[in-house]
Amino acid sequence: MTRSLSITVDPIAEPALVSGRTLSPGMGAAVSFAGVVRGLEGSDPITALEYSCFVPMAEHQFHLLFDRLAERGTVESVRLVHRIGRVAVGEASLWVEVVSPHRAEAFQACQWLIDEMKRVVPIWKKPLRD
């Protein structure tokens, strides 16, 4: 399984990521997900989220999750970009892509990866209202 991870302050360039996709002939599913900053935190309007991250640990924990995905033997590639720093409302903070032979395992793997990220990867967010 190939893997790509980026934790960056730069905006997530989704079109460039999609155009950079590679699939081998046996692959029939490419599931991607973009997490976008909502304009409401609960019922209160916000202008942005400020993401902070313990980067070395976050990278390590992401790769542990990728290792577990690889053990399934059904995922050809995973790419994940998590933006940190200030991310304005409407901008993507997360982009994930999973490539697999069939859609069910690609959807499930993408969902699992995001769920696990929210459990173990040390990233935090603070709402901004300026």
Partner: protein, 81 residues
């Protein structure tokens, strides 16, 4: 031995600092470190049930035995995505 402790996210605000150092006896556990930290930074003690602990880049629990020079991180539940 000396253990460096880093507080992440709003734990740094509660602790009043982002980093501190704690001197402990040899082979002290994470639990002993936490007892010391909760005495010196009592605002953190209220959140002990939701506190996550890492030594280096690995999660550890209170029974983990520390070594001189270890870096320990304390932080609230994570919120990526």
């Amino acid at each position: 031995m000396t253990i460096r402790v880093t507080f992440w996210s709003y734990f740094a605000d509660l602790a009043g600092c982002a980093e501190t150092s704690v001197t402990l006896p040899e082979r002290a556990t994470v639990g002993l470190l936490l007892e010391s930290l909760y005495r010196s930074h009592p605002a953190l003690a209220d959140l002990r049930r939701s506190t996550l602990i890492a030594v280096g880049v690995e999660y550890q629990d209170a029974d983990h035995v520390l070594a001189d020079g270890d870096s320990v991180s304390l932080f609230p539940p994570v919120q990526g995505g």
